[in-house]
Symmetry: C2
Subunit: 108 residues, 2 copies
């Protein structure tokens, strides 16, 4: 599968495709078409998540107050238990994310 | 750093930037400008490598005879010890790779 193929433009919820998975890592393609995290909900994850926006645009917010706008090529490491939510994604075009979940990642 | 920033067009050798690193995973951006693996050399790695081409074009060959052409969005899991080499990369534009090295990954 090419990452840029089979990208729906209208989805009832985020589309997640697991691209590779092992004991220590899981790599996902996520497609958002205007989706956001439901109001009041924060992700609080056991694993580190490294996330990259490949197409579209998104805003992530963090419980510690930071708001990050992500355009294609922007990437970010979200350490385990740093509470975050998807505040906004583009409605003009699908937003394609690559997410790498792993244990004990620290920024180099 | 944005993945698409600071991409040199002429390099003496491949440029590797480590984007994130932890106990179980290492994420790299690799830029090739026509580079190939030196003649007769095969990579034989201890870790699994999941590789994605983001820009440019490349051909990977495998000691088992397979030759794979990769265009933007194409991705591939190279299991540990599957011997491979970069046979060709575009000379028209830089080829940008994303590589995720990890232990014990298996294709989902």
């Amino acid at each position: 599968m090419n990452l840029f193929d089979d990208v729906p433009t209208n989805l009832p919820s985020e589309l997640v495709n697991v691209l590779a998975e092992g004991q220590s890592v899981r790599i996902e393609r996520i497609v958002s078409t205007g989706h956001t995290t439901e109001p009041g909900k924060w992700y609080d994850q056991e694993q580190d998540e490294w996330v990259l926006v490949l197409k579209g645009e998104a805003k992530l917010s963090f419980a510690d107050g930071e708001l990050v706008t992500m355009n294609p090529g922007d990437h970010l490491l979200i350490p385990a238990h740093r509470r975050h939510r998807v505040e906004w994604t583009s409605t003009k075009e699908p937003t394609i994310w690559l997410a790498v979940f792993s244990q004990s990642t620290s920024k180099s």
